[in-house]
């Protein structure tokens, strides 16, 4: 889909064609969708008025599934088929998953990413996450009664390439056009409008359901740079639930043996914890195999038995400041994110540590989704949104393995993206005709301490003496922080390339098949929908081409102009058809045939814009 229309920054081509763009916080415990409506970002509720969608998917026999609260309600009775906290498994192998023995799932070791066996078959974390994302997409479509132009999805700042790619795959599988992935702390900072504020350091304290993240952002020239991140990927509200549940079982002198019992106590503990944020005492109660559990608990008791958890978040915060070689006095503001920061003892501990009141006026559950929605609205090019340009950096260094298991860093962390860097390597043996390349991510010196992203081989190097070949390895990172690598022997021109996703993400074919499967049930609807989408796209494309020709037709020779006119005519003819594939083919041909023209126009546009600036400067 190549749209030729170049609009003024911030100005949509037509005010009636406002594009609906959404922000999604795909969380460990729960997920939300938000959008900018009437100039204000707000979270979108479901039919029952709830904005929070529990990140839970339950698979049932007969290819049925329940998502959200319905799934969570059965978590205790059907733990094996009810997947919660799937975010922990994204882009992760079986060995990466800490404490998996305690989890009620039937894990399947698969190359790259772990999978889970359910009553509906073996599911990958990408598919499970896609169910959650698709639910949010449908919610947004119902809210606006319109198609969604695109989405910004948030990921933790420390997510590596495999985890980001898995997230992007899940969004694509859910039928979303991913405008950008942005980091959660950055989204929270945007929600608070910090990018318009004073330059300096900001801390984002994010205590979610399953993870604790503390991030230090530096704002300079309107750019948020992630200075340091830390935390504990296995510490969150769930641990407060577990500590409370364990304590309650001890108090009552009973044991939860079955998976159903274990889950029931945890669910009851979570409810009790939430109550204790607003009242002083509550009753933890649930039915167990061995009988009824009912234990009274006060806020003070709860604070005492989770004090070590609060303390470990403060210890992690102190470490991040040390890593950034800075002190807490340099921190200009502290943003609170995550439902768990509602707990009064957390707010008190953070406020005391930083010596300032943390920002809590936005709903801590919603703040990340709100920031993502603001960014999505800007990316969709809607009117009034042109001022926000989010420039980003990569959070982790990218490099190659060299002799002796050492890492040669090609792109250092905090490089502004998109970016491209190249480095030359050579052969170390006489007559060597192949070279293995191992792409890694991380800050440590040894390959063993970094995350392996991909391996590929450059073959067909002409035999030469050692050191004579010149192999240029080029890394390119796009605006989402995703990497592709090419290697080329300069003398002979042999080349090999890889987009870093093979071991973790899904292939495009796999995604296409899953898409067909997930939408295949209502084929008639699908057909009508496809046809409508194709017609809209055809109309949009024809309009865009006409206006591009009117503005910059002088860039084309008569022959080039004739070819484009013929392609436009072909699209016009196809529009009377009911075959969406025929329309798509004509639109595709027009997009392809106008690519070079679009490139010329864009170069002209950019040159004019830059020259305009330079003249003003003089």
């Amino acid at each position: 889909m190549a749209l030729l229309q170049i609009s003024e920054p911030g100005g949509a081509p037509d005010p009636h064609q406002r594009r609906i763009a959404i922000g999604i916080d795909l969380g460990t415990t729960h997920s939300l969708v938000a959008a900018v409506r009437h100039g204000v970002a707000e979270c979108l509720p479901d039919d029952a008025g709830r904005v929070i969608l529990p990140s839970a998917v339950r698979y049932l026999a007969g290819d049925k599934r329940e998502i959200g609260s319905a799934a969570l309600a059965e978590a205790a009775s059907d733990p094996r088929n009810t997947i919660v906290s799937v975010k922990r498994f994204m882009g992760r192998g079986l060995d990466d998953i800490a404490g998996r023995a305690k989890l009620p799932y039937d894990f399947v070791d698969a190359p790259g990413m772990v999978q889970l066996r359910t009553v509906a078959g073996v599911k990958s974390p990408v598919e499970i996450s896609a169910e959650i994302l698709a639910t949010l997409r449908r919610r947004a479509e119902d809210t606006f009664d319109d198609d969604i132009f695109g989405a910004v999805v948030t990921v933790p700042a420390y997510f590596d390439d495999a985890q980001r790619q898995a997230t992007k795959d899940a969004a694509q599988l859910a039928g979303l056009n991913v405008l950008r992935l942005i980091s959660e702390p950055t989204a929270a900072a945007i929600a608070y409008g910090l990018e318009n504020g004073a330059e300096g350091l900001y801390a984002v304290y994010d205590l979610g359901g399953g993870t604790f993240d503390i991030s230090l952002l530096r704002l300079s020239a309107g750019v948020f740079e992630v200075v340091a991140t830390g935390g504990d990927s296995a510490l969150g509200g769930d641990d407060f639930d577990a500590a409370l549940a364990e304590w309650a079982l001890q108090q009552a002198g009973v044991e939860a043996v079955t998976p159903q019992d274990k889950r029931a106590v945890l669910v009851a503990a979570r409810a009790t914890k939430e109550k204790l944020s607003s009242v002083d005492h509550a009753m933890l109660a649930c039915p167990l195999d061995a009988g009824e559990l009912a234990v009274p608990v006060t806020r003070a008791e709860f604070a005492a038995l989770t004090q070590h958890l609060v303390q470990s978040t403060i210890t992690a915060t102190r470490k991040v400041l040390r890593d950034a070689k800075t002190g807490k006095v340099d921190v200009k503001g502290v943003v609170m994110v995550g439902g768990s920061t509602r707990m009064p003892m957390i707010q008190a501990a953070v406020g005391e540590f930083f010596g300032q009141k943390p920002l809590t006026n936005l709903n801590p559950d919603e703040v990340v989704a709100l920031g993502a929605a603001i960014q999505a609205n800007a990316l969709a090019g809607n009117a009034g949104a042109g001022e926000l340009l989010l420039l980003d950096v990569i959070a982790l260094s990218l490099g190659l393995e060299t002799m002796g298991g050492l890492v040669e860093r090609i792109i250092p962390r905090n490089s502004t993206i998109p970016t491209a860097r190249a480095q030359d390597f050579t052969t170390f043996k006489d007559g060597q005709t192949a070279m293995a390349l191992h792409v890694v991510q991380g800050e440590r010196e040894l390959v063993a301490d970094c995350r392996s992203l991909a391996r590929f081989e450059l073959r067909g190097i002409p035999p030469m003496v050692a050191g004579a070949a010149r192999i240029r390895v080029a890394f390119q990172v796009d605006a989402d922080g995703l990497l592709s690598v090419t290697a080329r022997e300069e003398g002979s021109g042999v080349e090999a390339a890889i987009t870093v996703k093979p071991s973790y993400g899904l292939s495009d074919e796999q995604i296409a098949q899953m898409l067909t499967e997930s939408f295949g049930t209502a084929e008639q609807d699908m057909h009508a929908r496809s046809l409508r989408e194709s017609l809209v796209e055809a109309e949009r494309m024809v309009l865009a081409t006409h206006s591009a020709l009117a503005a910059d037709g002088d860039l084309l020779s008569a022959d080039e102009r004739g070819a484009i006119d013929a392609l436009v005519a072909a699209v016009e003819r196809s529009r009377s058809s009911t075959d969406h594939a025929a329309i798509d083919a004509a639109v595709e041909a027009l997009a392809k045939g106008t690519e070079a023209f679009a490139a010329h126009r864009m170069n002209r546009g950019i040159r004019q814009a830059l020259a305009g600036r330079a003249v003003e400067d003089l």
Partner: protein
């Protein structure tokens, strides 16, 4: 001023004199201004062809910014623009005095046992680097002797490599 092009020099792109001395605040401001025009997010709604061109431009702007804001990379670039090749891989000849100092530093790092020992070395290297950059500025901007400057850049590259080794050592001591 000539029309900007993706093949313009870093200095042309950043609308600044091709000299070593640069105002960091002005570079930051111009970088932001350029990205405001070319960043792919500006064209997020406009399809694949526009994205590809925007990425090329944006990468080019980031490359220039990365080079201009770092004094050693900026100096190396100036030398190359003026026909004095750095060619650090093949040109490793250094004055004896410089090599002696490098050896002394390496020994000091090997023998350092505490964070304080290493910090003292950090201070020495930082002072040395500051003085070397001042000399480099005079060589480039006043004397315009690019061949001599290239030699100084090669020496500074050694110093930077050593500073990295110190960082790794500090990390190791910190754990």
């Amino acid at each position: 001023m000539p029309a900007l092009d993706i093949a313009s020099t870093d200095f042309e792109l950043f609308d600044t004199e091709p000299r070593f001395h640069q105002d960091r605040a002005a570079l930051d401001a111009r970088w932001r201004e350029l990205q405001t025009e070319v960043h792919p997010d500006r064209f997020a709604a406009q399809g694949a062809a526009a994205q590809r061109i925007a990425v090329q431009w944006s990468v080019r702007v980031n490359e220039a910014y990365h080079r201009l804001k770092d004094p050693v990379r900026r100096a190396a670039y100036l030398c190359e623009l003026n026909g004095a090749s750095i060619d650090a891989q093949n040109n490793t000849a250094m004055p004896a005095e410089f090599l002696m100092q490098q050896m002394a530093w390496r020994e000091a790092l090997d023998e350092a046992r505490t964070v304080d020992d290493v910090e003292a070395l950090v201070q020495q290297v930082t002072d040395h680097r500051r003085a070397a950059l001042q000399r480099l500025e005079a060589t480039l901007d006043d004397e315009r002797d690019y061949v001599a400057a290239a030699q100084q850049v090669r020496a500074l590259m050694f110093v930077e490599r050593f500073a990295q080794d110190i960082d790794h050592r500090l990390e190791a001591l910190g754990q």
